[in-house]
């Protein structure tokens, strides 16, 4: 868990650094009165690296994924709940009461 968390923090830092560089680059272009078409190559590279790190962290940090198929081995319906609202007590088991001693 720790590694995923650290990598995620790292990825977020890289992304925010890329954002800051882009804002600075735009400011520079405004001074030089040129058009802003796309951020420089190194910022794009930084964005891709940050994306990869954040995705890896998002997939490993939360832990085990649960299955969503209704017929997967964990989710399949094994039985319906016994209808305890309509439970009756004069079944054959009433002739074999277990030995319970109670002190309360």
């Amino acid at each position: 868990m720790n590694l995923g968390f650290v990598v995620g923090v790292f990825g977020v830092l890289i992304l925010s650094h890329a954002a800051y560089s882009t804002i600075q680059y735009r400011g520079l272009l405004k001074i030089m009165e040129e058009e802003f078409s796309r951020p420089p190559i190194n910022v794009i590279l930084e964005l891709i690296i940050g994306l990869a790190l954040c995705m890896w962290a998002a997939l490993t940090f939360p832990g085990k994924f649960l299955s969503i198929h209704p017929d997967s081995d964990e989710n399949r319906t094994v039985s319906l709940p016994d209808n305890s609202d309509f439970m009756i007590f004069n079944h054959r088991g009433r002739l074999f009461p277990p030995e319970i001693d109670m002190k309360f």
């Binding site: 209704p70 709940p81 309509f86 009756i88 004069n90 277990p98």
Partner: protein
């Protein structure tokens, strides 16, 4: 619906608690949430918790829920002394409570005093005529007395008021089946499928009832619902697969007198052969020594 994970968890806890490890309280909570009927175990472990004053005070306010659960389990196992004690303790703590009143009437039922229980329920109904649990207990009394027709009447009246109660529809279906009134049972299963279409067990039960009623249209519908069950369970339900094979042979037999086009429209040879192949594969995996039996049975069905 009890899923496989919950069932494995329950079994693990049960083994752990039976062999003296801790976790009795978690086991009792799980049984209560899943609404399973494990009365002997609940009685044994619940009364061991209640007998120990230290563990009892550790529960805090949950102690009374445990009292109720142990009382019902004791009534199911016919340990009426334990049940009486639990109900008395609850009466002392919550005097004049409707829930405790219901438990007292339940105790009368367990003792076999059906008349007094019926009176107790009627008096409780006067105070709150829309109490679902009390209506259901009256149905249970008629069922226990062996009068399924009266139980059916009461249950029908209850379902006119509370149409969304799945358990009641299930109970009504089973009552009809016990009286062999298959068409009415089919109606109840239709209601269940309408309200909970993703539970494969209802489709399976409906298909079984349709197949039992017989007649070509019903068997064709039964085949459709067996196919729906297979769809919902990802092909793992052996009973549905066998159902399709049986429907195939029933349709072939019943439509012997019809002309060729009708027969071709209702036959579905790919479905039948696929189902037969899937059944044999399952048997090969899970019960290889019975594979011979099932292959010969399937071959005789084709005729």
């Amino acid at each position: 619906m009890v899923t496989k994970t919950e069932e494995t968890q329950l079994n693990q806890l049960e083994i752990q608690v039976d062999n003296g490890g801790g976790g009795a309280w978690e086991y009792l909570c799980l049984v209560r949430n899943l609404k399973i009927r494990r009365s002997e175990k609940v009685l044994k472990h619940g009364s061991s918790i209640l007998n120990d004053p230290r563990k009892r005070s550790a529960l805090g306010p949950d102690e009374w829920t445990l009292n109720e659960q142990v009382a019902i389990a004791a009534m199911d196992c016919q340990c009426l002394g334990v049940a009486q004690n639990c109900v008395k303790a609850l009466q002392k703590k919550f005097p004049g409570s409707k829930r405790v009143g219901r438990l007292e009437a339940l105790l009368l039922e367990a003792k076999g005093l059906w008349g007094e229980a019926e009176e107790a329920y009627s008096s409780l109904l006067e105070d709150n005529p829309l109490d679902q649990a009390i209506h259901k207990r009256r149905v249970a009394i008629s069922k226990a007395l062996g009068k399924p027709s009266i139980a059916i009447e009461l249950l029908n009246k209850y379902l006119e008021l509370f149409m969304a109660d799945h358990d009641a529809w299930r109970e009504l279906a089973e009552l009809y089946l016990s009286l062999q009134m298959y068409k009415q049972a089919a109606f109840c299963y239709e209601e269940l499928i309408l309200s909970q279409p993703t539970v494969p067990l209802y489709h399976l039960a409906y298909a079984d009832v349709l197949y039992t009623i017989g007649g070509v249209e019903n068997v064709i519908s039964a085949r459709k619902y067996y196919a729906a069950t297979i769809d919902l369970t990802g092909g793992k339900n052996t009973r549905a697969l066998l159902g399709i094979c049986l429907c195939a042979s029933a349709i072939a037999q019943l439509s012997k007198g019809r002309n060729k086009e009708d027969k071709d429209a209702t036959a579905a040879p790919e479905l039948h052969s696929l189902a037969a192949a899937a059944v044999e594969k399952e048997y090969k995996q899970k019960a290889p020594d019975k594979l011979q039996l099932i292959s010969s049975a399937l071959r005789s069905l084709k005729i």
